[in-house]
Each structure stands twice: as C-alpha cells, then as structure tokens.
C-alpha cells in the first residue's frame, strides 16, 4: 500500500525516535558486575545510577513533573507549568517591547536611506552582542532582576525585527509608491495601507527569528537571574543533581520553542501575498 508522503515521513520520524531511545536504553542498562565483588565493594564504587539517566527514568521524572504542574511548594519546588508561564511571560513582554521600538524604527530606517546609513553602524555593532554580556550592565543599572531578563530579551530580539522591517519597507515596489502618489494618499494611510501590508511578510519573518532568539536568551538569562522560569528550573535541577529533570526540561524548552515558531509561521501565512 502506498502511503501519503507526509505520513511516511512521520512514520520514519517515529521510527528514528524509537531507535534513538532504544540505543539509549541499552546503553544505560545497569552493567552486570564482571567479578562477583561483594555488596560493600559495589557500594563503595558508587551506584551505576549516577551515569546518564535511562529513558525510563526520564519518563518517570517527567510523569512526576507533569502530574502536578501547578504545585507551588516554595522556591525549590514549583511545578513546571509555573516555571514555563514565567518564562513565556518574560519572553512575550520583552518581545513586545522590542517590537514596539523596532517596527516603527524600522519603518523610519526603511523609508529614509539617510536614516539607514546613519544608524547602520550602531545596529551592526549592537546586533552581535551576546545576551550574557548585557547582563552585568543591566543588573547594575536596572537592579530588579526580573526586569533585567526582560531588558536583555528586548535588546537581543529587536535586531532581526528592526532590520527586516527596514528591508521590507525599503524594498516596496516603486510602482506601488507611484500609485500612492498619483492617488494623493496621505502619509498615514500610505503607511498602514501600503507599506505595512507590503512589508508584512518580511516583518513577520523578522519576528519569527526574533522570537527564536528571545526563547534562546530567556534560558540563559533565567539561569543568572534565578527564582523562577524554565532556565532557573534547569539550573536548580542541575544543583539537585537530577539529570532526569534537566533532560525533561530540555525537551520542554525545545517543544515550546517549536510551538512558538509554528505560531509565527502561521501568522506569516496570514499576511503573505503572492504577485
């Protein structure tokens, strides 16, 4: 029977996952002792559990986490949903602030070659700075640690949106601008009814990249800032030496990032146009 290509690919993915988990499982099986050493000696050598956790252990840890995602037992015992909500909240707030600055500024830069040339050196210097490098400066000036992580997200995720907006607005077809000129369209109307829809696909692509960066940054930022969030959770479980929880958190970070990306891809399709 011939299956649809999508289903075949999905089956192959599942098979690959099963293969990886199977190899992982076999590799982490408790080794049978080569010599029948006595139990005391074995205990002295340390338990084999301290190596990389087996898939079943991770599943167990995941089950324990997912069973009570909203529990709040103090700083060291919060549910994964609470951490995730904190992280998402910070990311969305930081992203929104970046968007409010970057998109209008991108419009300005995109519609004025002079503005583009004069601001470009600053953009190129600020763009490659790591979020971790901003952190001490932010902690010193802002002091509130939660606000710091939001600031770092904003400043790191603003650049793709800024550059893509500028590029999208700057490459609006000359003939469309001519149409607007012959129709004596007001600048305000031109911005919202011509430049914005024309540049929207490019802007959305920028937002998608920005959101990806923001989600990368939040984990690093929360490790430093601490208290709440998925990044803090990872760091905390590392300190607890619970690698199973760390791997569970890694999976949660990856899945959430994927969902955010899919969301923006969907938004991009909404505003896409074809010539």
């Amino acid at each position: 029977m011939q299956l649809a290509p999508g289903i075949r690919a999905a089956l192959a993915s599942l098979l690959l996952l099963a293969l990886v988990l199977g190899v992982w499982h076999l590799a982490t099986l408790p080794k049978a002792s080569r010599q029948n050493a006595d139990a005391d000696y074995a205990a002295l050598m340390g338990s084999p559990r301290s190596s990389l956790p087996a898939p079943l252990q991770i599943a167990q840890a995941a089950w324990l986490q997912l069973k009570s995602p909203f529990r709040n037992g103090g700083l060291n015992d919060k549910g994964i949903a609470i951490h995730l909500a904190w992280s998402l909240g910070r990311v969305l707030l930081g992203f929104a602030i970046a968007m409010l600055v970057a998109v209008p500024l991108g419009f300005l830069i995109g519609s004025s070659p002079f503005a583009y040339r004069s601001l470009n050196p600053f953009i190129q210097v600020l763009k490659p700075i790591s979020p971790l490098a901003w952190m001490p400066l932010a902690l010193y000036t802002i002091q509130d640690s939660s606000a710091c992580s939001i600031f770092v997200i904003s400043i790191c995720s603003a650049w793709p949106m800024l550059l893509n907006t500028a590029h999208g607005v700057g490459s609006v077809k000359r003939e469309w601008l001519d149409v607007a000129r012959t129709l004596e369209v007001s600048p305000w109307r031109k911005g919202f009814h011509l430049l914005l829809p024309a540049a929207a696909p490019t802007i959305l692509t920028g937002m998608r990249i920005s959101m990806g960066i923001a989600w990368l940054v939040i984990v690093a930022a929360e490790m430093l800032v601490g208290g709440t969030g998925i990044g803090y959770f990872v760091w905390n479980e590392w300190n607890n030496l619970s690698l199973a929880n760390v791997i569970f958190a890694i999976a949660v970070i990856g899945l959430t990032g994927m969902l955010l990306d899919l969301g923006f891809a969907g938004l991009g399709r909404l505003v896409a146009w074809q010539e």
Binding site: D178, T182, L183, P197, Q274, E275
Partner: protein, 279 residues
C-alpha cells in the same frame, strides 16, 4: 480656445546626456493622443512628467490652466506593469483609489463606485480574486478600472497592453474605446504598436530616436471616430496611414535629429488625405 493640455519646451537630461529636448504638443479636451517611438526615446519619461511623477530638466506642462508640479488625482495613470496591490482583491484595489478620491464617502458608496467600474471592464464575478489569480489581461483591466473610477480630468496610459498577447490586447482595446467614447475622457497613451495607435488615437505623435529625441511628426488620424477593430482594416485609408507610420519607425526616426523640434508641424501627409487615398 486654449488647449486642455499644453506641453511646452520639455527636456530631460541626465548630466551631459540629453534624452529628449524641446518637446512640445497640446491635447484638446476629449482628445485621444498616442505617443509612438522606439524604446529609449524617453516617451515614458514624458508621460511621467505629465503625470507629475518625474520632473523635467526644462520646460513645463500645463493641464487645465495650471502647471503640473506633482502627481494629482486629476490625472489617472494606468501603469505598464498594472501595479496592482497584490494583497488586495480586485474590488478592493479599485476601492483603494475610490477611497483616496472621496475620503468622506460611505463604504457602500465606495464599493458601489468600484463595482460600477469593474463591471465596465467586464470583470463582474472576479471582484474577490487576488491579482495573482487573475490573468494578465484581467489585471490590466483592473488597472484601467482603477484609473477611470476616480473620474480624473485626463488619463495617462503607459504602454498598458505591452505585456499582453495579441488577442487579449484586441479585446481590451475595444473595451477602452467604448469607455473612452462613453466618458469623453482626454487621454495620452504611450505605445509602440502602430495598429493600436491607429485604432485608438485621434492624433499620433511620432518621436525620433534618442539621445536628443524630439517629436518629429504629428499625424492626424484620417480615419474618423467610431473606428472598430472589426472594420478598421477595410478602410482604404488604413494601410496608407499604417505604412506612413511604419516607414517613420523603420527609417525616418533614425534620420531625424532634433533641432527642428519646435517646427515639427502638424503633418497630414498628402497620401493620407481622404480624397487622394482611394486608388
């Protein structure tokens, strides 16, 4: 009577390179004028100057008593590449122009005006199609509807049918003739198609080749209004006119050099005169 459009001593140069010089012509109200020339002679630039989209290096354009200083809703433009907004369906593309012309109209008024002009170009039923879903001919029809819908004082058409196949072109030319006859529009159109010019234009301006191009001849269309694509080629005067225009494009446009630009008198070549044209 003062002409409706008056183009005076127009010139355009880029640095030392002069594209065209001392271009002058007039258009009366309700007249359909075609500008023919080889590519590179600056005919599109002339149209853009009349539209107000481009600035001349010399001379001026006066439309309805006032000098053109920029684009205006008084002069509708049909662009060569249709220039529709691809994210808007056909009706909204026209409505965008209508809304620009009458900002205080209600939505219903805007839609009904846009619909009226889409109907006029026979696009009833395709209102909600995006430009990417329309054929080349349909796209240009939307462009024509958009230009007419704002009811400008004059229309400027920049090789509107250049990208269309011959059959589609013929159909839209007929539609354009009908709309122009119905609305008594004043039209300036750029083309390099001799047959198109004979069918549509009351007067044909022939441009010499650049650089330093100019208007070499002004040919009155000896064929009276009411021309149709079905009957025009049976008119005995048709081929004489066609040959005259083709001869110009093939040979005379090269020989002609600007300098006598302002003397480019209205020529009605003798072989085109009605009484002499019948063999």
């Amino acid at each position: 009577m003062r002409p409706f459009v008056s183009v005076e001593e127009l010139g355009k140069s880029y640095g030392a390179l002069s594209v065209f010089e001392e271009v002058g012509f007039t258009i009366d109200k309700g007249e359909f004028v075609c500008l023919i020339g080889h590519s590179g002679c600056g005919k599109s630039t002339i149209l853009n100057v009349v539209a107000g989209l481009d600035r001349p290096s010399a001379g001026r354009v006066i439309v309805d008593g006032s000098q053109v200083r920029g684009p205006s809703l008084d002069r509708g433009v049909v662009f060569q590449s249709h220039a529709l907004l691809p994210w808007l369906p056909a009706l909204k593309n026209v409505a965008f122009a209508v809304r620009s012309r009458w900002p205080r109209w209600s939505d219903a008024q805007v839609v009904s005006q846009a619909q009226k002009y889409l109907d006029m170009v026979h696009l009833t039923g395709s209102e909600q199609k995006k430009p990417s879903e329309l054929s080349g001919g349909m796209k240009q029809r939307v462009g024509i509807a958009r230009a007419f819908a704002i009811q400008p004082k004059m229309l400027l058409l920049d090789e509107p049918f250049g990208a269309l196949d011959a059959l589609t072109r013929g159909v839209i030319q007929d539609e354009l003739l009908q709309i122009c006859a119905a609305t008594r529009q004043t039209v300036l159109m750029i083309t390099h198609d001799v047959d198109e010019a004979i069918l549509l234009a009351d007067r044909i301006l022939l441009m010499s080749n650049g650089p330093r191009a100019g208007i070499a001849e002004v040919v009155e269309n000896a064929l009276p209004r009411g021309r149709t694509r079905q009957t025009i080629h049976r008119d005995p005067r048709y081929y004489a006119l066609r040959n005259h225009l083709l001869d110009f494009l093939v040979t005379r446009s090269r020989r002609y050099r600007n300098g006598a630009g302002s003397e480019a008198a209205r020529t009605t070549p003798t072989e085109l005169l009605p009484e002499e044209s019948v063999p």
